[in-house]
Amino acid sequence: MVRRESLSRKLFIIFNYTFLTLLSLTMFLPFLNVIAQSLSSAGAIDRGEVMFWPVEITTQYYKYVFEDVSIWRAFGISVYITVLGTAINLAATATLAYPLSRQEYVGRRLVLMVILLTMIFSAPLIPQFILMREIGLVNTLWALMIPTAISAFNLFVLRSFFAQLPTELIDSSRIDGCGELRTLWSIVLPLSKPALATVGIFYSVTNWNKYMDALYYINDRAKYPLQVKLRELLITDDLSDTGNLAFEITSQSVQGVQMAVILVATIPIIMIYPFLQRFFIKGMLIGSIKS
């Protein structure tokens, strides 16, 4: 009995490893190709010789990218929006999730219903733009951070997490004389680090990838985030047809430069993930064990 089990188990393990290795290769190899292209000469790229290793190594593209002030400014703007934006997101979401998670909050159901409504219906572009303009947020970076401060989905995640905390803790802090804000800050939040990290990562990635909003609300080119700048460099408008041929783009930017810019834009996010990974795992597990 034992031998048969271990044989099939061994096969299963071998199959598992092979399958997962192949799967991860399909995701990793194209990325390797991008890195290789960013370091290869233009001639080699044109001839299609570049596979997974740079051919005729050159650093000219990186030099070009590093010297381009507008890319760095866009990079800085993206970092600014991500850091400050995520902070605003977390503050707003946590302060809204906390009362919604308490049974004793009187208007709870109504507020939850309204929030649910916003998940289903959303305003079309033009009225939203006019609203932004009247408030005075157009052409500022706040337009990218404040209107989307609370995502209903993340709110619900955080709310369910808060609801799970033992009410005895909250009650005891109230007995000790803490106000609600103090309770939130000193008791609830420290216990919710995994959930906050998870929600925080979701928000950060959304903020880092912010593109459509920036395009519509921001007119000043100095305030473009990195994604808009990337798109300008990478995508040539071969697809749409305005009926006027004279604007067709026949010479695109050099492919090597495109690859180098892609790397410059992606590396930061890739570097942050490993550090926050342990929170994911913790966050997933916390909900599974009942205390």
Binding site: I45, G48, I130, G179, T236, D237, A246, F247
Partner: protein, 525 residues
């Protein structure tokens, strides 16, 4: 007590945030930052805002603030104006323009692309957003009237009222694409430059025997690979409607015999390997790589790319030589590619800027002067060129920064010009002179044109499957043609394809086209 204090603190915080956020408000986008020059402008400099598409010009897109650019400042000085340039991102041009009109955020001058009914204008002309310019042009724009040909003015005129609504930037030579061939390969196989379709096929066969990977560079949807459709005059694009002997105005692919012949040519090429078997998946980046890496023998591309693509090709393949040749001719002795719109960009003046309209027209009028030509071709005296015995001396830059700047000046900042080629710059290099020669002596005599409807026929919008692009066949026809070329469908089946076209809405299209042509309603030939 702590609770009270907490409440007061909260209140104070909220008020502080509100005050802080209010301080961050920009004063709306209408005023913008027109402070382009800290240097005080000359008395009475006309201030106006103008929206312009970036056209993917690197210099513009990388610039921290285009309104402070030395060339823009020089332009302002020479024309006594104070510009507030508002850049519109190239790829999102249409969306941003529509948003601009919908939110009534319209600058004093709006740049459009093409005539008065482009989708980016969102009906602005019909709704009276812009000034009619007839009288202003008579008084302040005489040079413009002289420089710009009638067919370009026709595109800017509302046929019902006769009002001219915009100032066009023109393209005098509508034949923009050419047939290119590798003359070194031609020499190697010992053949002459082909003139007819049959001769061309022979040359391609010889190329194939000599080992050329892609004798004719094919591309997806026959875009930039339509040499042989042009030879038989069956291009079928948006501006290729024809008056047929039966009195109806139909797309040119209704010429059954010629269409079958053209499809037959492509099928032969596919079967004999003269065009890549995967041509239907080759996109623009690969297309360019294939050509510049020396794998192609013959292809179609814009003639003004000769200096750039030619240089790149010779860098990759030192022995390569390339030349522009007359396109292969079909049974009627003609050939070439679809003609382009005579108007490239166009500039409209907002009714709200009526008080400054005269000066704005004068500003555009200056654009066609010699002084303007010098500024936009070479740049600033002393910085970009020197003057020797009264003549400007200029060296064409070869570094990336220099070529970026040239593209910006020649092509973007010069608002009204003949965009065929820049004479002053091109005449300085050998490849440039070859290009000028090709344009003036060869391309001017070839090319296919038909009847164009601007605004587009309503029926075309209703039936997207039958809607051609400016350089591609309608999806329905294209699909069948591709199947025939790949051997999945019989070419003799073509009449059935046309019947399918008619039954799926083609009849309405033809009816509307014929009516509009007979009524001369915005039908351009």
């Amino acid at each position: 007590m702590p609770k009270q204090a907490m409440r007061m603190l909260m209140l104070t915080l909220i008020l502080a945030i509100a005050a802080g956020c209010a301080g961050n408000n920009q004063p709306g986008t209408d005023t913008g930052s027109a402070e382009g020059g800290e240097t005080p402008q000359a008395q009475g400099a006309t201030k106006f805002s103008i929206s312009m598409r970036t056209l993917n010009v690197g210099y513009v897109e990388k610039h921290p603030d285009i309104n402070k650019d030395p060339y823009v400042l020089a332009l302002e000085e020479k024309t006594n104006t104070d510009l507030d340039i508002r850049l519109i991102p190239h790829n999102e041009y249409q969306d941003k323009m529509v948003q601009m009109f919908a939110t009534n955020d319209i600058p004093d001058v709006v740049q459009g692309s093409g005539g008065i009914s482009g989708p980016e204008l969102a009906g602005a002309v019909e709704n009276g957003v812009f000034l009619p310019l007839n009288d202003l042009l008579e008084e302040h724009g005489k040079d413009l009237l002289a420089f710009i040909p009638d067919e370009a003015w026709a595109r800017m005129t509302d046929s019902k009222t006769g009002n001219i609504y915009g100032i066009p930037e023109i393209l005098s030579n509508p034949s923009r694409r050419a047939t290119w061939i590798r003359t070194d390969l031609l020499e190697k196989v010992g053949k002459e430059i082909p003139t007819t379709v049959e001769e061309t096929l022979d040359v391609l066969r010889a190329f194939k025997e000599a080992g050329v990977e892609q004798p004719y560079a094919g591309r997806q949807n026959f875009k930039y690979a339509d040499t042989f459709f042009g030879a038989y005059d069956v291009l079928g694009y948006l501006n290729q409607f024809k008056l047929f002997p039966d009195g109806q105005v139909k797309p040119s692919f209704f010429d059954v015999d010629n269409m079958k012949a053209a499809i037959g040519v492509y099928k032969t090429m596919h079967d004999e390997g003269l065009i890549s078997r995967e041509f239907a998946t080759i996109e623009s980046t690969d297309f360019r790589s294939i050509i510049t890496s020396g794998k192609a023998g013959m292809w179609s591309m814009n003639a003004n790319e000769l200096p750039i693509w030619g240089a790149q090709l010779m860098e990759n393949v030192p022995d390569a030589r390339v030349a522009l040749i007359p396109s292969p001719v079909g049974p009627d002795g003609g050939g070439g590619y679809a003609h382009y719109n005579p108007v490239t960009r166009s500039f409209f003046i907002n009714k709200k800027a009526e008080d400054r309209a005269a000066e704005i027209v004068q500003f555009f009028n200056w654009m066609v002067s010699d002084e303007a030509e010098l500024l936009f071709s070479y740049g600033l005296e002393g910085e970009d060129y020197t003057v020797a015995s009264g003549e400007p001396v200029f060296e064409v830059p070869t570094d990336t920064a220099g070529t970026d700047k040239m593209r910006y000046l020649n092509y973007w900042l010069w608002l009204v010009q003949d965009t065929t080629y820049n004479k002053m710059v091109s005449s300085l290099t050998e490849t440039g002179q070859q290009m000028i020669d090709a344009f003036d002596n060869m391309l001017a005599h070839e090319g296919r044109k038909g009847i164009e409807f601007d605004p587009r026929l309503d029926a075309l919008i209703r039936y997207p499957d039958l809607n051609p692009k400016s350089d591609e066949l309608p999806p329905l026809i294209l699909e069948h043609v591709l199947r025939m070329v790949y051997g999945r469908e019989e070419i003799d089946n073509y009449e059935a394809v046309l019947d399918e076209y008619l039954s799926k809405g083609g009849n309405e299209i033809i009816e509307e086209a014929t009516t509009r042509y007979n009524n001369k309603e915005n039908a351009f030939e």
